[in-house]
Amino acid sequence: MSNILVADQVTKNYGKFTALNAISIEVPAGSIFGLLGPNGAGKTTFIRIINQITMPDSGKVFLDGEALQPHHIQQIGYLPEERGLYKSMKVGEQTLYLAQLKGLSKAQAKERLKYWFDRLNIGDWWDKKIEELSKGMAQKVQFIVTVLHQPKLLIFDEPFSGFDPVNANLIKDEILELRKQGATIIFSTHRMESVEELCDHIALIHNSNKVLDGKVSDIKRTYKSNTYEVGLICNDKETLKTELSDKFEISTANFKTLEDELKINIKIDQKSSPNELLNFLTSKAEINHFVEVIPSVNDIFIQTVSKK
């Protein structure tokens, strides 16, 4: 799989403050790429560099193998976190203007706008002013403006903020549909559950440095600790617990079940297999729950950020 976007040693300073420190990131074509990091880590600066809003002090960015040039703007769709529209301009006029700025002809823009307005059920908004719309409604218009020129690379910064669950779902489906049609999506958000659900690659930026990147499944594999979450039905919980703690590293687990069993996390060493653990446990009690603990992106995020 080729990379649609490659950032090579991108550095940006604002006076004495380093916003990005030699960041190198590769975004595979056709992926949904999560760009993560705590507030002020440098995500927005990085996104602005991709959009050529800010120029890097050193380092290079390549889109489809070419060093970034002004005409690449037309191949990128960017939905900023801080977004708005002209309040007193009509929706139709405004979307036409923004689409034309992205290089579409007026007729082309009109045709596509009609398609998208119908698709998102906002066909009758054309003559409304933005100030008459609610925040969520305005977000829909912004979403359309972002995707209208059919960019190869879409960058969404907190795309779901301001949407109710129904519309958030609608937008999520649209994003998945766009990926299916061949677009690559860079996704910057603090909502880890949507990262978990959507992203197949992530990069984590912390204090202006890239601290982690790769395929989500690979990252999880390296972060997992061979721990199993177990539910055991037995008469004497305390004895069993002591017996287990002699043999394994254990901690209390929290999960919901119907029974009142012993809930426990058991960590086994790398050499042993889960089957050995199972065999051992069946000899001691009745097992009604056995799951490998896979770290969530949220866990990895918190672990990485607080470690550094």
Binding site: Y14, G15, R48, N51, I53, T54, P70, I73, I76, Y78, L79, P80, E82, R83, G84, L85, Y86, K87, S88, M89, Y97, L98, Q100, L101, K102, Q142, V145
Partner: protein, 432 residues
């Protein structure tokens, strides 16, 4: 380039479609003319009122010397004492009672005349009465001392300088004032245009910032293009407004000349004849002088200086708008704009009108920040073309430099939110 023209079009439309623009453009000249007519009408109403003044002359000196004017009629009361005269004048339809006490000595007469009036007297009535009494008493004193009044009358002279420049064009005393007034109006209008349209640019930058549309737009266009498009689009709206005013003004001028019957083609009417007829009517003289001003040069220079001056100032306005989050924070940065503009106005009104080609006027009409206003004020007095050219070149060179400088602040500022920056921080932004 395509994006720049799209931005210019949007900015122009959003200015011109604004209700206040339509009101300003169409209504304000009408309101202005309407006000002039209203004031003229009201003061004529006032003048038409005829006031009668009762006169009780016990000295007998003013038998035939108090002449009625258009608005004042003197009515003599005879054979009654002061008290009954007071009652008659107070109850009757009189503006007041003029009482001249019995006297044989003319020398003390001027101290003793009294005027009884209800409430406060009309200033014009008092002035007229004083003037009439003064003339009569002066004549009486001269006669008493044996001076021949006829000789005095014959010796009076009225000098009216016929002013003419070395090219043989005749002007009148009025024409210097008309030049000053037109220069003043042009300069003042330019200052207002710079402030009003510069402010529009600034507010529109702040609007884009607070709307948070700015990041969406600059992910499509370069900040420099956005700033220039904004400045240009707004300037086109300003030029449109000015041209509408020129057209409306020409129509008014045409109406005025037809009404007052002045031929505004100077060549078709010999100057001497013109001046003779002009003497008959002050209005004709004024219109004649206006017609002979370098109107075309004035309008042309207005446009050029508006573009230069406006571009210079509005790029500063744009940078200020980018540096702040809301309009209240702009105050601290306004000083560098307001001071040169005010200075230009003061130089214009004090130095230029007193001496249009003096050193101060010439210097300030070349300094780029003040030249648009000061030079415009000088132009009606006749300025050599090369001086205008030098001043315009200086203006546009400075403009190019200031735009470069403003664009740097703008580029950084539009993405900065939160704390309002200091001058020191703005300086730092130049290096980002």
């Amino acid at each position: 380039m395509r994006n720049l023209s799209l931005i210019i079009k949007r900015e122009f439309n959003s200015r011109v479609r604004n209700k206040s623009f339509v009101v300003m453009t169409i209504l304000s000249p009408l309101i202005f003319v309407g006000m002039i007519f209203l004031v003229a009408y009201l003061s004529s109403l006032n003048n038409e009122e005829i006031r009668s003044v009762a006169v009780l002359d016990n000295s007998g000196f003013f038998e035939n010397t108090l002449e009625d004017s258009d608005n004042i009629i003197f009515k003599k009361l005879e054979d009654i004492d002061l008290d009954s005269a007071k009652i008659i004048s107070e109850e009757g339809d009189y503006h007041g009672l003029l009482f001249i006490p019995e006297s044989n000595d003319i020398s003390t007469l001027d101290q003793n005349v009294e005027f009884y009036v209800k409430g406060s007297p009309s200033v014009s009535v008092v002035q007229y009465i004083e003037k009439s009494l003064n003339a009569t008493i002066t004549n009486l004193k001269l006669e008493r001392d044996g001076v021949d009044l006829l000789k005095i009358e014959a010796s009076k002279s009225y000098v009216d300088l016929k002013i003419e420049n070395y090219k043989g064009e005749q002007t009148s005393k009025m024409s210097s004032w008309i030049k000053a007034i037109f220069g003043g109006i042009a300069g003042y209008l330019l200052m207002m245009f710079i402030i009003i349209y510069g402010n529009m640019v600034m507010r529109s930058v702040i609007e884009e910032k607070t709307n948070r549309i700015i990041e969406i737009i600059i992910s499509s266009v370069k900040p420099y293009h956005l700033m220039m498009g904004k400045i240009m689009g707004t300037s086109l709206a300003g030029i449109t407004q000015f041209l509408i005013w020129v057209v409306l003004g020409s129509i008014l001028m045409l109406v005025a000349t037809t009404v007052f019957g002045v031929n505004i083609e100077p060549s078709s009417m010999p100057n001497q004849e013109m001046m003779d007829t002009a003497n008959n009517s002050a209005m004709q003289a004024i219109i004649y002088d206006i017609a002979r001003l370098p109107i075309a040069t004035l309008i042309f220079s207005f446009l050029i200086y508006f573009i230069g001056g406006y571009f210079l100032y509005s790029s500063i306005y744009a940078a200020i708008g980018a540096a702040v989050d809301n309009e209240t924070d702009t105050q601290q940065f306004m000083l560098p704009i307001i001071i040169p503009l005010m200075l230009a106005m003061y130089v214009g009104f004090f130095a230029v009108i007193e001496n249009p080609h003096g050193t101060i006027a010439v210097i300030f009409s070349h300094i780029p920040l003040t030249s648009p206003i000061v030079m415009l004020m000088r132009i009606p007095f006749g300025v050599p073309w090369w001086e205008i050219l030098i001043s315009m070149l200086l203006l546009f060179a400075t403009f190019a430099f200031v735009v470069w400088f403003a664009a740097k602040i703008y580029r950084v500022g539009i993405l900065m939110y939160g704390k309002k920056p200091t001058y020191k921080e703005l300086y730092k932004w130049l290096k980002y």
